[in-house]
Symmetry: C2
Subunit: 185 residues, 2 copies
């Protein structure tokens, strides 16, 4: 089994991080792999916003908390009430991938780019987790203001976001894979 396939099979989502920040060289190579994902008609419809400033990370968490508290979803409301609520698990780096809504397939482009970021990170010993909640930022005025303050290009929508950092605990055992997921004709 080659190294790439080992990375593909062994990367797990990490939900507990140390405060140690990513090395800048590692961040740069991770971002580069995102830019080399495939995209529809090579539109490269993605834009990467890397957030490492602690105050801004805290503000993002608070805006998401407010969205969860008003979500009407009992599970999300319960999560957001906890004092320890942190939607990206106190990871030191958050990467937001937004895409041009007028592109052919920005949701696919951005998901593939984020997948590359995850795998590059994993190959460097850096943990990551898809954080879907940020796709809801544009549903409140506070979230819309935050999107603007983050410098996300006008006309872009957030299609993916991910927490990145060093795992604070052992890599989780993978959940069993579902049966009957393949049909060969």
């Amino acid at each position: 089994m080659n190294e790439t396939i080992k990375t593909l099979l062994n990367r797990r989502s990490i939900r507990s991080y140390t405060p140690e920040q990513l090395k800048d060289d590692d961040l740069q190579i991770i971002l580069k792999t995102g830019k080399f994902a495939p995209s529809a008609m090579n539109q490269q419809s993605w834009h990467f916003t890397v957030v490492q400033n602690k105050e801004i990370l805290q503000r993002i968490n608070q805006v998401i908390r407010a969205i969860f508290l008003k979500s009407g979803n009992a599970h999300f409301e319960e999560m957001a009430k906890a004092d320890t609520f942190h939607v990206f698990y106190n990871a030191p780096t958050l990467i937001i991938v937004s895409g041009d809504e007028k592109a052919i397939a920005p949701q696919c482009d951005c998901a593939l780019a984020m997948g590359n970021l995850f795998l590059a990170a994993s190959s460097l010993g850096i943990g990551s987790c898809w954080i879907h909640a940020l796709t809801q930022l544009d549903t409140t005025p506070e979230g819309t203001k935050l999107i603007s303050d983050l410098g996300i290009p006008s006309g872009n929508k957030i299609f993916a976001s991910g927490a990145f950092g060093y795992a604070a605990s052992e890599t989780p055992t993978p959940a069993p894979r579902k049966d009957n997921a393949v049909n060969i004709i």
Copy 2:
């Protein structure tokens, strides 16, 4: 630079294939990496339909051709009029990833799974290309019948499909990456 990062940077979309079929062992390991992609709340909302039967591949191409001819898009209509039209470039294997429409984020789950298939294939010397047209299969009665005949689970939507095979020409040089795609805060 480690092997995984090399694969992430060097995989290119391939649009010309030899008739040589994938080895079954390679297909199995490629599919396994798809099942180990991350998914929202571990729902694994994906289903993989692998098509290698030449008559069925031909039928898929003809249904897509008919959709293109009636698309109202001059570019697609022109493509479909060509005698040589083949939406997945005569690749010997087509993999369709469909997702449960009632899942949390099936479009993300399926795109991440397809990304893993592409990267595993690349690491094994096998070319691939995202074929977006199949997401349109459910827009005509013939396409809907085909989806059913392919055994795609009821309630699933096609979110991704990809051509797989051995490249018939050299790996293309990557197009230049866009500037200003990253903002670090």
